[in-house]
């Protein structure tokens, strides 16, 4: 099982991504520099969190134009499993691999805390080890996680089961009071049409060790590995 982590200048959660992939795959992921034009042979690609290019211009906008992103888009087309977390999600939307955009949190503040998430679709290669209706606990750490898309796109995402994660409370209740950052319809993570690209704001890679206070994130990585093997 081979995995790769894409590194842009300003990315800072690569360490965490590498640890999670290593735990799930048993091998060290390849680290690919943004200026490279080719990817190694790999079953899983992860675009980690951070502040690529300092979030200047717009979160993820500059990284989306990096040379390596052409190769990532090519692999996406070929059906390779691709996970974008936090800044990685922003980069994937800016690169057009996922619909919508991430705006500033409704509170206008950076938020770092644990949050409950409802797994809305367990029939994806990222979530098939979770049970239907499971509520999981991952941390978030972002300033721009407020998911936006027009209502036509949102309806389509919902209709096609492409909303994978939503902010909720401990009992799985999804409503404005449990909407962490103002996201449309409490959306925390979505997949592309083909189902091989997931973008999400919360950090499953920071919930893989009892020391983190919980290990709910492990199954997301395990699901990816099992689906890809």
């Amino acid at each position: 099982m081979k995995s790769a982590v894409i590194l842009f200048p300003g990315i800072n959660r690569e360490n965490d991504a590498i640890a999670a992939l290593k735990q799930a795959t048993g091998t060290e992921p390849a680290v690919v520099w943004h200026g490279d034009t080719e990817l190694p042979k790999t079953d899983i690609i992860m675009v980690p969190g951070g502040f690529s290019y300092g979030d200047y211009l717009r979160c993820g906008a500059m990284a989306a134009k990096s040379p390596i992103m052409r190769a990532v888009a090519e692999r996406a087309k070929q059906g390779v499993t691709i996970l974008g977390v936090c800044n990685g999600f922003q980069i994937l939307t800016e690169a057009g691999l996922l619909p919508g955009a991430l705006m500033r949190n409704a509170s206008l503040k950076f938020i770092c805390k644990n949050t409950h998430l409802k797994i809305e679709n367990t029939d994806t290669r990222f979530t098939n080890l979770y049970g239907a209706g499971d509520v999981v606990d991952y941390p978030v750490a972002h300033h721009d996680g407020n998911y936006f898309a027009d209502s036509e796109t949102l309806d389509r995402l919902e209709g096609e089961g492409r909303v994978v994660l939503r902010y909720c409370d401990v009992d799985g209740k999804v409503d404005p009071a449990t909407n962490l950052n103002g996201s449309q319809r409490n959306i925390a993570g979505i997949i592309n049409e083909a189902g091989n690209v997931l973008g999400m704001m919360p950090h499953p890679e920071n919930a893989i060790d009892p020391m983190h206070g919980g290990t709910d994130g492990r199954n997301l990585f395990k699901s990816m590995v099992e689906a890809a093997s």
Binding site: P9, G10, R13, D16, F51, I111, C112, D209
Partner: protein
């Protein structure tokens, strides 16, 4: 000034005064130079001899602080202190103030404070793994407080979050004495290999002097001089001297420096902080006993028409100066090219022991290095001790409020309300090693790839220091020690950030001298030496000084993370045991201030021998795995401590009243050297304490969903929680 008239600007007495040099000091300048300096040279003397860079008022007393222990690799004098944490690794840390800039421009002031302290740490070859801070604001209803608090917190988060360094702890106080002069102290802890630590002493005549990082602009010129003067109503006009931070560039600089440090190309390295190129080049040359020739026209510049004067004094951020081994320039440059950072050879080391500044071939300045760097003025300023205050007699209290109402009032007060609103704006999880998050006694991060943990905390109780600088100085160190112990760490060393008013006033100087004495005594007794620090004086506005605030940053080591403690009560905890003795000290307590409206009395004394014995036995109990729940008793006293343990674990408790004596003093006294432990095996804890000659007694019982006193007078945890969590968000949401 155009770039070529530096020899024609007349050096008038007014100009000398504007540069912050008094007549005596200017006489010394003339003596050292043997002639009148030109404007560039005057500017260099000005910043090098500023209080901020020269420590001229504080040096005499700082020298008295204990700085040695077997595990100290590098004490004060380098960019940061270094301690051995075993297995070939070292912790590198320091705390530094950015008070004046943060008052003028809170976001950028705080952000660049965080950026500066991280640079100090990675300059030594360490990867920053934890940030902390110590913040003091004016009283909550002062019109500026919300604006300053929100800007400072955003600035700290904006920089630290982008750098990918978790902010794991800190403290925040409010008091009217900070209305016109807030304190922003930032601390960074880094990890390095003991055989790959970098120092600043330049060596190797003919070796290239290299500039890396951001380009130099006109920001922050005379920042160090500003930091060495009192504030007045015109201080807002000093806004242009506040530096502007670019955390993205610093992240690149961090990665590029660590990549270069993994090779064998660097002789010496120093970050450009206060007084920029001047301070870094003089310090490197002075420590190495060499001379430098700098080619200022080669410095990467952000704007056109910059002068040598501006280049030497700019405090543009995210820059480093280094001396490379000869012939390494191209390989080193390739690393900085990869990270898209400027890299320029801007000079060479000479054997002249002089700093020669060249500007397109012309000499723009020529100064001796040692007299400037080493022979800076040192003052033995007159000082007066602070008069002692009387102990508070519990009989003098009105006792107008029930214990539970007093608890509810205290826990919702600005002094004790939850700081969650602040720390949720900091990424405290990035790097995936955070074991204890903010809100406990100390933050803890795992030493990556091991099962060891680094614990870190910042502490000071300024109202104690104000009332009795010696006891207050001891207390600040003792509280840092206690906060580390309470997590299961062995306390190793501290960094001190000495924030005081105008040292030219004997009363203020007396506070400084007293605090140094107290800190020194505590460091010796607790085997907890000072390895780095920073002094910030002249924290005054319109002649009103701040409360003396010697903020202490402590670092300790948890040898096995399988055995550590947190403050929250756990399901299997039953007995609550208080470790340490109490006589009911209410002087300067929050109860006295908040409930009785009295800010007075002698602060609680610190018995350093008892402190050490208690710390040692608790560390052992946690290390053996016998205790997993521990919280030190600090602001607010015993009842507040238990309430915090209940809230953190979401489990209630009953606290027993004493058989005799003042109930208020028992519940709310702030006697030092104490902890509350929760355990299901009280006998083991009591026996261990007894054989270590440490006072210990069962003072309550864990369980339920409310906090009660002697089985009565209940308050539910949900009510306590909403009081404790509610204050800051609603305060910050109110319109200014």
């Amino acid at each position: 000034m155009s770039s070529n008239d530096f020899n024609s600007t007349p050096i008038t007495p007014e100009l000398v005064k504007e540069h912050g040099l008094n007549e005596e000091e200017y006489k010394l300048v003339l003596e050292i130079m043997g002639r009148e300096p030109n404007i560039n040279e005057l500017g260099i003397f000005s910043v090098m001899w500023s209080e901020h860079c020269s420590y001229k008022s504080s040096k005499k007393w700082l020298k008295t602080l204990p700085t040695k222990a077997d595990w100290v690799i590098q004490g004060p004098g380098e960019n940061a202190g270094v301690i051995d944490i075993g297995d070939g690794q070292a912790a590198v840390f320091k705390m530094e103030s950015h008070n004046h800039p943060s008052f003028i421009e809170p976001y950028q002031g705080a952000a660049t404070g965080v950026g500066g302290i991280m640079r100090d740490v990675f300059t030594m070859g360490a990867r920053p793994v934890a940030n902390l801070n110590a913040l003091r604001f004016g009283e909550p209803d002062h019109p500026k407080t919300r604006h300053l608090l929100s800007g400072v917190v955003e600035g700290i988060g904006g920089y630290g979050n982008c750098m990918g360094v978790p902010t794991i702890g800190g403290e925040t106080n409010f008091h009217a004495s900070y209305n016109g002069n807030i304190l922003v102290n930032a601390m960074t802890v880094g990890l390095a290999d003991t055989d790959n630590i970098f120092y600043s002493a330049a060596a190797g005549i003919g070796n290239p002097v290299v500039y890396v990082g951001s380009k130099t602009g006109r920001d922050g010129i005379h920042g160090a001089t500003m930091a060495s003067a009192e504030f007045d109503d015109d201080s807002e006009e000093k806004r242009p001297t506040v530096q502007v931070g670019d955390p993205f560039t610093e992240k690149l600089l961090l990665e590029a420096c660590l990549e270069l440090m993994a090779t064998d190309m660097i002789v010496a390295i120093q970050d450009m902080g206060a007084a920029g190129l001047t301070s870094s080049s003089f310090e490197m040359a002075s420590k190495g006993g060499v001379g430098v020739e700098l080619w200022l026209d080669k410095v990467p510049m952000r704007e056109e028409g910059m002068t040598p004067y501006e280049l030497m004094l700019s405090e543009s951020q995210e820059r480093m100066l280094m001396v490379l081994k000869p012939g390494c320039e191209d390989a080193a440059k390739a690393i900085f090219d990869k990270w898209e950072l400027d890299f320029a050879v801007i000079g060479t080391l000479t054997d002249t022991k002089r700093m020669v500044l060249k500007w397109h071939g012309e000499v723009a300045g020529d100064l001796p290095i040692d007299p400037l760097a080493e022979a800076s003025p040192e003052y033995d300023r007159p000082w007066e001790p602070t008069p002692k205050q009387d102990r508070i007699d519990p009989a003098s209290l009105s006792g107008k409020m029930s214990h539970v109402d007093a608890l509810k009032t205290l826990i919702a007060s600005p002094d004790l309300a939850s700081r969650r609103w602040i720390w949720e704006q900091y990424d405290h999880l990035v790097r995936g090693n955070t074991v204890i998050r903010p809100g406990g006694d100390a933050g803890v991060v795992r030493v990556e790839g091991t099962n060891k943990g680094l614990a870190a905390t910042t502490d000071c109780t300024p109202r104690y220091v104000m009332a009795d600088p010696v006891e207050g100085g001891k207390q600040a160190v003792a509280e840092a020690y206690r906060n580390l112990v309470a997590t299961g760490a062995k306390p190793l060393a501290i960094t001190d950030n000495m924030n005081f008013g105008n040292p030219e006033r004997p009363r203020i100087m007396g506070q400084f001298v007293g605090a140094c004495q107290g800190i020194g005594e505590a460091c010796i007794a607790l085997e907890f030496p000072v390895v780095s620090g920073n002094v910030s004086l002249y924290n005054e506005t319109n002649g009103v000084g701040i409360m003396p605030t010697p903020a202490i940053g402590g670092v300790g080591l948890i040898s096995d993370l399988g055995h550590h403690a947190t403050i929250g009560l756990k399901r299997d905890d039953s007995a609550l045991i208080m470790i340490g003795a109490a006589t009911g000290e209410l002087g300067q307590s929050l109860y006295l201030k908040t409930i009785e409206g009295r800010e007075e009395g002698a602060p609680p004394p610190v018995d350093l021998g008892a402190e050490k014995r208690a710390g040692t036995v608790i560390h052992e109990l946690i290390e053996l795995g016998l205790v997993r729940t521990c919280h030190d008793i600090a602001d607010g006293g015993l009842l507040v401590t238990v309430a915090e343990m209940c809230l953190a674990g979401n489990i209630g408790a009953d606290v027993f009243l004493p058989e005799s004596g003042s109930e208020i003093a028992w519940l709310f006294g702030e006697d030092q050297g104490r902890y509350v432990i929760a355990t299901r095996d009280p006998d083991k804890v009591l026996n261990a304490a007894s054989s270590a000659n440490v006072a210990a007694a069962i003072i309550g019982q864990a369980g339920g969903d409310a906090l009660s006193i002697d089985g009565d007078a209940k308050v539910t945890l949900s009510e306590l929680r909403s009081l404790n969590e509610g204050w800051m968000p609603s305060f910050m949401a109110e319109a200014v």
